[in-house]
Subunit: 214 residues, 2 copies
Protein backbone atom coordinates (compact mmCIF):
# COMPACT_ATOMS: atom_id res chain seq x y z
CA UNK A 1 0.00 0.00 0.00
CA UNK A 2 2.76 2.41 1.02
CA UNK A 3 4.80 1.55 -2.05
CA UNK A 4 1.76 1.92 -4.29
CA UNK A 5 0.98 5.39 -2.94
CA UNK A 6 4.64 6.35 -3.42
CA UNK A 7 4.56 5.21 -7.03
CA UNK A 8 1.24 6.99 -7.72
CA UNK A 9 2.64 10.18 -6.20
CA UNK A 10 5.84 9.87 -8.23
CA UNK A 11 3.92 9.28 -11.47
CA UNK A 12 1.65 12.26 -10.81
CA UNK A 13 4.64 14.48 -10.15
CA UNK A 14 6.54 13.32 -13.22
CA UNK A 15 3.42 14.04 -15.30
CA UNK A 16 2.90 17.56 -14.03
CA UNK A 17 6.02 19.12 -12.52
CA UNK A 18 8.22 20.88 -15.02
CA UNK A 19 9.64 23.44 -12.66
CA UNK A 20 13.13 23.92 -11.24
CA UNK A 21 15.10 21.90 -13.74
CA UNK A 22 18.34 23.67 -12.81
CA UNK A 23 17.99 23.40 -9.02
CA UNK A 24 21.15 22.09 -7.35
CA UNK A 25 19.13 20.04 -4.85
CA UNK A 26 17.46 17.17 -6.73
CA UNK A 27 13.93 18.58 -6.65
CA UNK A 28 12.00 15.82 -8.42
CA UNK A 29 13.15 13.36 -5.78
CA UNK A 30 12.31 15.88 -3.02
CA UNK A 31 8.86 16.31 -4.53
CA UNK A 32 8.28 12.57 -4.92
CA UNK A 33 9.44 11.81 -1.40
CA UNK A 34 7.50 14.68 0.17
CA UNK A 35 4.33 13.73 -1.70
CA UNK A 36 4.77 10.11 -0.66
CA UNK A 37 5.10 11.19 2.98
CA UNK A 38 2.00 13.40 2.73
CA UNK A 39 -0.08 10.67 1.04
CA UNK A 40 1.17 7.93 3.41
CA UNK A 41 0.57 9.87 6.64
CA UNK A 42 -2.09 8.18 8.69
CA UNK A 43 -3.43 8.21 12.25
CA UNK A 44 -1.44 5.47 13.98
CA UNK A 45 -3.02 4.20 17.18
CA UNK A 46 -1.30 0.79 17.38
CA UNK A 47 2.32 0.64 18.50
CA UNK A 48 4.73 -2.26 19.00
CA UNK A 49 5.97 -0.87 22.33
CA UNK A 50 9.51 -0.29 21.00
CA UNK A 51 11.19 2.91 22.16
CA UNK A 52 11.67 6.10 20.16
CA UNK A 53 14.86 7.92 21.21
CA UNK A 54 15.01 11.39 22.76
CA UNK A 55 17.13 12.57 19.84
CA UNK A 56 14.48 11.45 17.35
CA UNK A 57 11.80 13.31 19.31
CA UNK A 58 14.00 16.42 19.30
CA UNK A 59 14.36 16.12 15.53
CA UNK A 60 10.57 15.78 15.17
CA UNK A 61 10.14 18.94 17.24
CA UNK A 62 12.65 20.71 14.99
CA UNK A 63 10.23 19.99 12.14
CA UNK A 64 7.30 21.22 14.27
CA UNK A 65 9.03 24.53 15.03
CA UNK A 66 9.66 25.17 11.32
CA UNK A 67 5.91 25.69 10.75
CA UNK A 68 4.55 28.97 9.43
CA UNK A 69 3.32 31.37 12.10
CA UNK A 70 1.15 34.49 11.75
CA UNK A 71 3.42 37.56 12.16
CA UNK A 72 6.16 35.04 13.05
CA UNK A 73 4.96 34.89 16.67
CA UNK A 74 5.76 31.13 17.02
CA UNK A 75 3.37 30.58 19.94
CA UNK A 76 4.17 26.87 20.39
CA UNK A 77 5.47 25.00 23.43
CA UNK A 78 5.85 21.24 23.82
CA UNK A 79 5.59 19.02 26.89
CA UNK A 80 7.15 15.61 26.23
CA UNK A 81 5.75 12.85 28.47
CA UNK A 82 7.45 9.48 28.78
CA UNK A 83 6.18 8.32 32.17
CA UNK A 84 3.08 6.23 31.40
CA UNK A 85 2.26 6.01 35.13
CA UNK A 86 1.15 9.66 34.90
CA UNK A 87 -1.14 9.20 31.89
CA UNK A 88 -4.24 8.31 33.89
CA UNK A 89 -3.84 11.43 36.03
CA UNK A 90 -3.35 13.59 32.94
CA UNK A 91 -5.69 12.00 30.39
CA UNK A 92 -8.28 10.28 32.58
CA UNK A 93 -9.03 6.62 33.21
CA UNK A 94 -9.90 5.84 29.59
CA UNK A 95 -6.91 7.66 28.03
CA UNK A 96 -9.35 9.30 25.61
CA UNK A 97 -10.72 5.92 24.58
CA UNK A 98 -7.42 4.93 22.98
CA UNK A 99 -6.57 1.47 24.24
CA UNK A 100 -3.08 1.63 22.72
CA UNK A 101 -2.24 5.05 24.19
CA UNK A 102 -0.02 3.51 26.86
CA UNK A 103 1.92 1.43 24.31
CA UNK A 104 3.26 4.63 22.72
CA UNK A 105 6.86 5.55 23.51
CA UNK A 106 6.04 9.18 24.31
CA UNK A 107 3.16 11.62 24.24
CA UNK A 108 3.86 15.18 23.14
CA UNK A 109 1.41 17.79 24.41
CA UNK A 110 1.35 20.63 21.89
CA UNK A 111 0.64 23.88 23.76
CA UNK A 112 0.13 27.49 22.70
CA UNK A 113 0.85 30.78 24.34
CA UNK A 114 -2.47 32.44 23.52
CA UNK A 115 -1.09 35.93 24.10
CA UNK A 116 1.46 38.22 22.47
CA UNK A 117 3.60 40.58 24.54
CA UNK A 118 5.01 43.31 22.30
CA UNK A 119 4.85 47.08 21.76
CA UNK A 120 1.47 48.26 20.41
CA UNK A 121 1.20 48.05 16.63
CA UNK A 122 0.63 51.80 16.35
CA UNK A 123 3.62 52.60 18.59
CA UNK A 124 6.50 50.19 17.88
CA UNK A 125 8.83 52.11 20.21
CA UNK A 126 6.34 52.04 23.09
CA UNK A 127 6.16 49.87 26.20
CA UNK A 128 5.29 46.19 25.62
CA UNK A 129 1.68 45.24 26.24
CA UNK A 130 0.07 41.79 26.36
CA UNK A 131 -2.80 41.12 24.00
CA UNK A 132 -4.60 38.04 22.59
CA UNK A 133 -2.97 36.28 19.63
CA UNK A 134 -5.75 35.66 17.08
CA UNK A 135 -3.80 33.07 15.08
CA UNK A 136 -2.38 30.65 17.66
CA UNK A 137 -4.82 27.90 16.73
CA UNK A 138 -3.86 28.05 13.04
CA UNK A 139 -0.15 28.08 13.87
CA UNK A 140 -0.56 25.05 16.12
CA UNK A 141 -2.45 23.19 13.39
CA UNK A 142 0.43 23.67 10.94
CA UNK A 143 2.98 22.86 13.64
CA UNK A 144 1.22 19.59 14.51
CA UNK A 145 1.03 18.61 10.84
CA UNK A 146 4.77 19.24 10.33
CA UNK A 147 5.43 16.94 13.29
CA UNK A 148 3.11 14.22 11.95
CA UNK A 149 4.73 14.32 8.51
CA UNK A 150 8.23 14.07 10.02
CA UNK A 151 6.97 11.09 12.06
CA UNK A 152 5.66 9.40 8.91
CA UNK A 153 8.84 10.09 6.94
CA UNK A 154 10.87 8.25 9.59
CA UNK A 155 8.64 5.20 9.55
CA UNK A 156 7.16 6.04 12.95
CA UNK A 157 3.50 6.46 13.85
CA UNK A 158 1.46 9.07 15.74
CA UNK A 159 -2.08 10.35 16.06
CA UNK A 160 -3.41 13.90 16.57
CA UNK A 161 -5.72 13.81 19.58
CA UNK A 162 -7.62 17.07 19.98
CA UNK A 163 -7.65 18.71 23.41
CA UNK A 164 -8.77 22.23 22.44
CA UNK A 165 -11.62 23.29 22.06
CA UNK A 166 -13.01 20.65 24.46
CA UNK A 167 -12.88 21.81 28.12
CA UNK A 168 -13.39 18.25 29.36
CA UNK A 169 -10.07 17.41 27.68
CA UNK A 170 -7.89 20.52 27.90
CA UNK A 171 -8.87 21.55 31.46
CA UNK A 172 -7.57 18.41 33.25
CA UNK A 173 -4.38 18.45 31.14
CA UNK A 174 -3.81 22.13 31.90
CA UNK A 175 -4.40 21.50 35.59
CA UNK A 176 -2.29 18.35 35.93
CA UNK A 177 0.66 19.89 34.06
CA UNK A 178 0.24 23.17 36.03
CA UNK A 179 0.40 25.23 32.84
CA UNK A 180 0.51 29.05 33.11
CA UNK A 181 -2.83 30.85 32.65
CA UNK A 182 -1.91 32.02 29.14
CA UNK A 183 -0.84 28.54 27.95
CA UNK A 184 -3.47 26.31 26.33
CA UNK A 185 -2.94 22.58 25.73
CA UNK A 186 -3.89 22.19 22.05
CA UNK A 187 -3.51 18.49 21.29
CA UNK A 188 -1.86 15.30 22.58
CA UNK A 189 0.19 13.25 20.13
CA UNK A 190 1.32 9.74 21.14
CA UNK A 191 4.32 8.44 19.13
CA UNK A 192 5.62 4.95 18.65
CA UNK A 193 6.78 2.29 16.25
CA UNK A 194 3.69 1.29 14.23
CA UNK A 195 2.44 -2.29 14.21
CA UNK A 196 1.38 -1.75 10.59
CA UNK A 197 -2.33 -2.14 11.34
CA UNK A 198 -3.12 1.50 10.54
CA UNK A 199 -3.29 2.51 6.87
CA UNK A 200 -3.81 5.83 5.07
CA UNK A 201 -7.30 6.77 3.83
CA UNK A 202 -8.05 7.85 0.28
CA UNK A 203 -9.58 11.32 0.72
CA UNK A 204 -9.35 12.54 -2.89
CA UNK A 205 -12.56 14.46 -3.70
CA UNK A 206 -12.13 16.45 -6.92
CA UNK A 207 -15.63 17.90 -6.46
CA UNK A 208 -14.22 19.98 -3.61
CA UNK A 209 -12.23 22.08 -6.12
CA UNK A 210 -14.09 25.10 -7.50
CA UNK A 211 -12.67 27.22 -10.30
CA UNK A 212 -12.98 31.02 -10.07
CA UNK A 213 -16.35 30.82 -8.29
CA UNK A 214 -18.24 28.53 -5.91
CA UNK B 1 21.08 28.12 1.88
CA UNK B 2 18.62 25.50 0.62
CA UNK B 3 21.40 22.96 0.12
CA UNK B 4 22.83 23.74 3.55
CA UNK B 5 19.49 23.16 5.25
CA UNK B 6 19.10 19.92 3.31
CA UNK B 7 22.52 18.72 4.46
CA UNK B 8 21.86 19.73 8.08
CA UNK B 9 18.52 17.88 7.97
CA UNK B 10 20.17 14.82 6.43
CA UNK B 11 22.95 14.81 9.02
CA UNK B 12 20.47 15.14 11.89
CA UNK B 13 18.42 12.26 10.55
CA UNK B 14 21.44 10.02 9.99
CA UNK B 15 22.51 10.75 13.57
CA UNK B 16 19.19 9.93 15.18
CA UNK B 17 16.94 7.73 13.03
CA UNK B 18 17.55 4.06 13.44
CA UNK B 19 14.03 2.89 12.61
CA UNK B 20 12.60 1.00 9.68
CA UNK B 21 15.77 -0.60 8.39
CA UNK B 22 13.82 -3.24 6.48
CA UNK B 23 11.26 -0.94 4.86
CA UNK B 24 10.86 -1.58 1.13
CA UNK B 25 10.44 2.14 0.39
CA UNK B 26 13.81 3.83 0.96
CA UNK B 27 12.87 5.52 4.22
CA UNK B 28 16.10 7.37 5.06
CA UNK B 29 15.86 9.21 1.77
CA UNK B 30 12.14 9.89 2.36
CA UNK B 31 13.00 11.25 5.78
CA UNK B 32 15.86 13.40 4.48
CA UNK B 33 13.78 14.81 1.64
CA UNK B 34 10.71 15.42 3.80
CA UNK B 35 12.78 17.14 6.50
CA UNK B 36 14.49 19.26 3.85
CA UNK B 37 11.09 20.31 2.49
CA UNK B 38 9.83 21.14 5.99
CA UNK B 39 12.97 23.14 6.90
CA UNK B 40 13.09 24.93 3.52
CA UNK B 41 9.42 25.94 3.45
CA UNK B 42 9.13 29.70 3.59
CA UNK B 43 6.54 32.41 2.95
CA UNK B 44 7.13 33.35 -0.69
CA UNK B 45 5.68 36.73 -1.65
CA UNK B 46 7.85 37.43 -4.73
CA UNK B 47 7.06 35.59 -7.97
CA UNK B 48 8.63 35.72 -11.43
CA UNK B 49 5.23 35.83 -13.14
CA UNK B 50 5.73 32.44 -14.82
CA UNK B 51 2.66 30.21 -14.95
CA UNK B 52 1.93 27.20 -12.76
CA UNK B 53 -0.13 24.59 -14.64
CA UNK B 54 -3.63 23.46 -13.70
CA UNK B 55 -2.34 19.89 -13.30
CA UNK B 56 0.28 21.05 -10.79
CA UNK B 57 -2.38 22.90 -8.79
CA UNK B 58 -4.53 19.76 -8.81
CA UNK B 59 -1.58 17.76 -7.49
CA UNK B 60 -1.02 20.34 -4.73
CA UNK B 61 -4.70 20.03 -3.76
CA UNK B 62 -4.32 16.26 -3.67
CA UNK B 63 -1.70 16.85 -0.95
CA UNK B 64 -4.04 19.28 0.83
CA UNK B 65 -6.89 16.75 0.90
CA UNK B 66 -4.63 14.11 2.48
CA UNK B 67 -4.50 16.12 5.73
CA UNK B 68 -5.76 14.67 9.00
CA UNK B 69 -9.33 15.61 9.89
CA UNK B 70 -11.18 15.29 13.20
CA UNK B 71 -13.62 12.36 12.93
CA UNK B 72 -12.58 12.26 9.24
CA UNK B 73 -15.10 14.98 8.36
CA UNK B 74 -12.78 16.57 5.73
CA UNK B 75 -14.51 19.98 5.86
CA UNK B 76 -12.31 21.61 3.16
CA UNK B 77 -13.28 23.22 -0.13
CA UNK B 78 -10.99 25.13 -2.49
CA UNK B 79 -11.70 28.02 -4.83
CA UNK B 80 -8.91 28.39 -7.40
CA UNK B 81 -8.64 31.92 -8.81
CA UNK B 82 -6.57 32.69 -11.90
CA UNK B 83 -8.22 35.89 -13.13
CA UNK B 84 -6.19 38.72 -11.59
CA UNK B 85 -8.74 41.28 -12.81
CA UNK B 86 -11.05 40.02 -10.04
CA UNK B 87 -8.49 40.31 -7.23
CA UNK B 88 -9.29 43.93 -6.37
CA UNK B 89 -12.99 43.09 -6.04
CA UNK B 90 -12.21 40.06 -3.87
CA UNK B 91 -9.22 41.22 -1.82
CA UNK B 92 -9.58 45.01 -1.83
CA UNK B 93 -7.50 47.74 -3.45
CA UNK B 94 -4.33 46.91 -1.52
CA UNK B 95 -4.51 43.12 -2.07
CA UNK B 96 -3.82 42.68 1.66
CA UNK B 97 -0.73 44.88 1.41
CA UNK B 98 1.05 42.31 -0.75
CA UNK B 99 2.45 44.19 -3.74
CA UNK B 100 3.41 40.94 -5.48
CA UNK B 101 -0.01 39.33 -5.04
CA UNK B 102 -0.95 39.96 -8.66
CA UNK B 103 2.29 38.42 -9.94
CA UNK B 104 1.23 35.03 -8.56
CA UNK B 105 -0.03 32.47 -11.06
CA UNK B 106 -3.09 31.55 -9.00
CA UNK B 107 -4.65 32.20 -5.62
CA UNK B 108 -6.31 29.32 -3.81
CA UNK B 109 -8.97 30.26 -1.29
CA UNK B 110 -9.09 27.55 1.37
CA UNK B 111 -12.66 27.29 2.68
CA UNK B 112 -14.35 25.23 5.37
CA UNK B 113 -17.81 23.84 5.77
CA UNK B 114 -18.28 24.83 9.41
CA UNK B 115 -21.12 22.36 9.92
CA UNK B 116 -21.56 18.60 9.98
CA UNK B 117 -24.70 16.95 8.66
CA UNK B 118 -24.98 13.43 10.04
CA UNK B 119 -27.16 11.32 12.32
CA UNK B 120 -26.95 12.33 16.00
CA UNK B 121 -24.04 10.71 17.85
CA UNK B 122 -26.40 9.03 20.30
CA UNK B 123 -28.64 7.69 17.49
CA UNK B 124 -26.50 6.60 14.52
CA UNK B 125 -29.57 5.18 12.72
CA UNK B 126 -31.58 8.39 13.14
CA UNK B 127 -32.34 11.22 10.75
CA UNK B 128 -29.38 13.43 9.77
CA UNK B 129 -29.10 16.72 11.64
CA UNK B 130 -26.80 19.69 11.00
CA UNK B 131 -24.57 20.81 13.84
CA UNK B 132 -21.39 22.91 14.23
CA UNK B 133 -18.05 21.21 13.52
CA UNK B 134 -15.72 22.13 16.39
CA UNK B 135 -12.54 21.14 14.56
CA UNK B 136 -12.78 22.72 11.11
CA UNK B 137 -10.17 25.36 11.92
CA UNK B 138 -7.62 22.74 12.98
CA UNK B 139 -8.30 20.60 9.92
CA UNK B 140 -7.86 23.61 7.65
CA UNK B 141 -4.57 24.48 9.32
CA UNK B 142 -3.16 21.02 8.61
CA UNK B 143 -4.63 21.07 5.10
CA UNK B 144 -2.98 24.42 4.32
CA UNK B 145 0.37 23.21 5.64
CA UNK B 146 0.23 20.06 3.47
CA UNK B 147 -0.36 22.31 0.46
CA UNK B 148 2.53 24.63 1.37
CA UNK B 149 4.93 21.73 1.82
CA UNK B 150 3.94 20.23 -1.54
CA UNK B 151 4.52 23.68 -3.09
CA UNK B 152 7.99 23.88 -1.53
CA UNK B 153 8.89 20.34 -2.60
CA UNK B 154 8.19 21.25 -6.24
CA UNK B 155 10.36 24.36 -6.15
CA UNK B 156 7.33 26.65 -6.20
CA UNK B 157 6.44 29.40 -3.73
CA UNK B 158 3.32 30.39 -1.78
CA UNK B 159 2.26 32.30 1.30
CA UNK B 160 -0.48 31.63 3.83
CA UNK B 161 -2.58 34.78 4.09
CA UNK B 162 -5.08 34.59 6.96
CA UNK B 163 -8.70 35.49 6.24
CA UNK B 164 -10.37 33.93 9.31
CA UNK B 165 -10.76 35.13 12.08
CA UNK B 166 -10.68 38.68 10.66
CA UNK B 167 -14.16 39.84 9.48
CA UNK B 168 -12.60 42.70 7.46
CA UNK B 169 -10.87 39.99 5.39
CA UNK B 170 -13.22 37.00 5.29
CA UNK B 171 -16.49 38.94 4.90
CA UNK B 172 -15.67 40.59 1.53
CA UNK B 173 -14.21 37.32 0.19
CA UNK B 174 -17.30 35.40 1.30
CA UNK B 175 -19.56 38.01 -0.28
CA UNK B 176 -17.69 38.38 -3.59
CA UNK B 177 -17.44 34.60 -4.08
CA UNK B 178 -21.10 34.17 -3.01
CA UNK B 179 -20.19 31.37 -0.62
CA UNK B 180 -23.01 29.43 1.12
CA UNK B 181 -23.84 30.55 4.67
CA UNK B 182 -22.10 27.52 6.19
CA UNK B 183 -18.85 27.99 4.22
CA UNK B 184 -16.11 30.15 5.73
CA UNK B 185 -13.13 31.41 3.72
CA UNK B 186 -10.16 30.41 5.90
CA UNK B 187 -7.08 31.68 4.09
CA UNK B 188 -5.88 32.88 0.69
CA UNK B 189 -2.72 31.30 -0.74
CA UNK B 190 -1.08 32.87 -3.82
CA UNK B 191 1.22 30.48 -5.73
CA UNK B 192 3.94 31.18 -8.25
CA UNK B 193 7.49 30.54 -9.33
CA UNK B 194 9.68 32.16 -6.67
CA UNK B 195 12.19 34.87 -7.57
CA UNK B 196 14.48 33.47 -4.86
CA UNK B 197 14.27 36.60 -2.71
CA UNK B 198 12.36 34.82 0.09
CA UNK B 199 14.36 32.56 2.40
CA UNK B 200 13.41 30.27 5.32
CA UNK B 201 13.74 31.53 8.89
CA UNK B 202 15.61 29.67 11.61
CA UNK B 203 12.93 29.13 14.29
CA UNK B 204 14.71 26.50 16.41
CA UNK B 205 14.06 27.28 20.10
CA UNK B 206 15.03 24.30 22.28
CA UNK B 207 13.78 26.20 25.35
CA UNK B 208 10.24 25.57 24.08
CA UNK B 209 10.62 21.84 24.85
CA UNK B 210 9.59 20.83 28.37
CA UNK B 211 10.14 17.32 29.70
CA UNK B 212 7.37 15.66 31.75
CA UNK B 213 6.27 18.97 33.28
CA UNK B 214 6.14 22.66 32.37
Amino acid sequence: MKKMIFLVAAALIMASCTCNKDESVATPSNAEATMATIMNRKSVRSYTGEAVSDSTITLLLRAAMAAPSGRNIQPWHFVVLRDTSRYTAIFGEDNFNMPMFKASSAVVIFCADTTVTAPPRDNPQGEAVTRPNGLWRDDLGACTENFLLAVESMGLGAVWTALYPYPERFAPVKESLVLPDNVMPYCAVPIGVPTGDDQPKDKWKPERIHYNQW
